[in-house]
Symmetry: C2
């Protein structure tokens, strides 16, 4: 819907401005810590000291505690009552996060295939075409952006708000590494083929195929990521 829509009502309709862009201290800490953990800047089992953290960020312990609760619920740290929090992130944790994302993305792809409308199919097709172009021209940055657009569109088509949010929390790809991956022509082509297959399955309403191709895509691309970050050719 566009900002002004005079046809349906005498009152012009505007999107409510989203307050979520506002940055609070706790969110800043949360993002910074999350990023630090998934990029390996803490050792598994390492203890986190609230006062130290607060000092490092130059804030009080209150927003620190809140950020730690969020990380705890995400499963990236573990809180031992009255003993503090320790880092819970390792290669095996990352592997499981990929599996979780594969399970959830394939479920959401299944539903998207069932629920997508004609307009959604057209939009998906446009995204796929842009991906082909960006793949051919080797535009890694565009590909990274299109990748996100593609998955977001699948989420939207599924009409699943909860699942979409849940999937977001399984994401731990780092921008710089994604760039490295997309600069490899072989990898680019694989990802393109998979995205096209997913888009076609969804557009065709083939829920089972959408589910399968999505799962394979998430697992394969996740393994590529893992093998780079953890310097190991890993099969799950």
């Amino acid at each position: 819907m566009t900002a002004a829509n005079p046809s349906s009502s005498s009152q012009a309709e505007f999107e409510k401005i989203d307050a979520s862009f506002q940055m609070t201290v706790r969110d800043h800490v949360h993002r910074a810590m999350r990023s630090a953990i998934i990029s390996g800047r803490f050792q598994p089992g390492q203890k986190i000291n609230e006062r130290n953290l607060a000092e490092q960020f130059g804030v009080s312990t209150t927003p620190i505690k809140e950020a730690l609760r969020q990380l705890e619920t995400e499963g990236l740290v573990e809180a031992l009552p009255r003993r503090g929090v320790v880092i819970r992130f390792s290669m095996s944790w990352a592997e499981e996060m990929i599996l979780a994302r594969a399970a959830l993305e394939s479920m959401i792809a299944h539903l998207a295939a069932k629920r997508i409308d004609e307009k959604g199919k057209a939009a998906l097709s446009v995204i796929a075409t842009r991906m082909k172009e960006a793949t051919a021209s080797g535009d890694a940055d565009s590909l990274i952006a299109l990748n996100e657009t593609f998955h977001d569109h699948v989420h939207k088509s599924s009409q699943c708000g909860y699942l979409a949010k849940l999937i977001e929390r399984q994401q731990f790809y780092d921008a710089s590494i994604r760039r490295v991956i997309h600069l490899d022509p072989t990898e680019r082509q694989k990802a393109l083929d998979e995205h096209v297959a997913i888009a076609e399955a969804i557009a065709a309403g083939d829920a089972d195929k959408a589910e399968r191709t999505m799962r394979d895509h998430v697992v394969r691309s996740g393994d590529t990521y893992l093998s780079i970050v953890f310097k190991k050719k890993g099969e799950v």
Copy 2:
């Protein structure tokens, strides 16, 4: 391992007592609020006032804020920066939580079938036998407990710590309603058949069948729950 094990060392070995049973105020608030939300004691979109809540619980706002951050990350409430938190739970949210659990449980069942050892198979068989007995005798309380034991055992067999934790957070079954469900002989029998099928598939190492039967089980039993709680015969 038993508490004392003199064979391996001159030093007696004891299980470290698990500190996780300790109840902190924030955990109490978190559980209480979670339970209240999923059992419908708040309306979707309802605003939550931190000071009111603190007063109701008779505590300060600090643990309240922490509990709200946990609920936020779980997706049960939404925090609008500097405007407070609102309830985000409705029938559609519950439906999606069931789908999420189905996706994750089927993934974990798949892995369990691949990774379970002989000892694990034997234990699973014992649980299945107990379930048959409890189903025949109509012991609802035992069935509820066995149900949990069964799923926990599948989780353990899969060797997936992260996935198991994630699944826990998709659980929103209320004890009293579970009891109602298990008191129905037809429902009991359906659940038993499904559990047996899952156990057999896992024991046979048939990962795909374990995955399918687990997903169907979670979706079907979830729908039963939904239809009771939301008083609607719901197909997803």
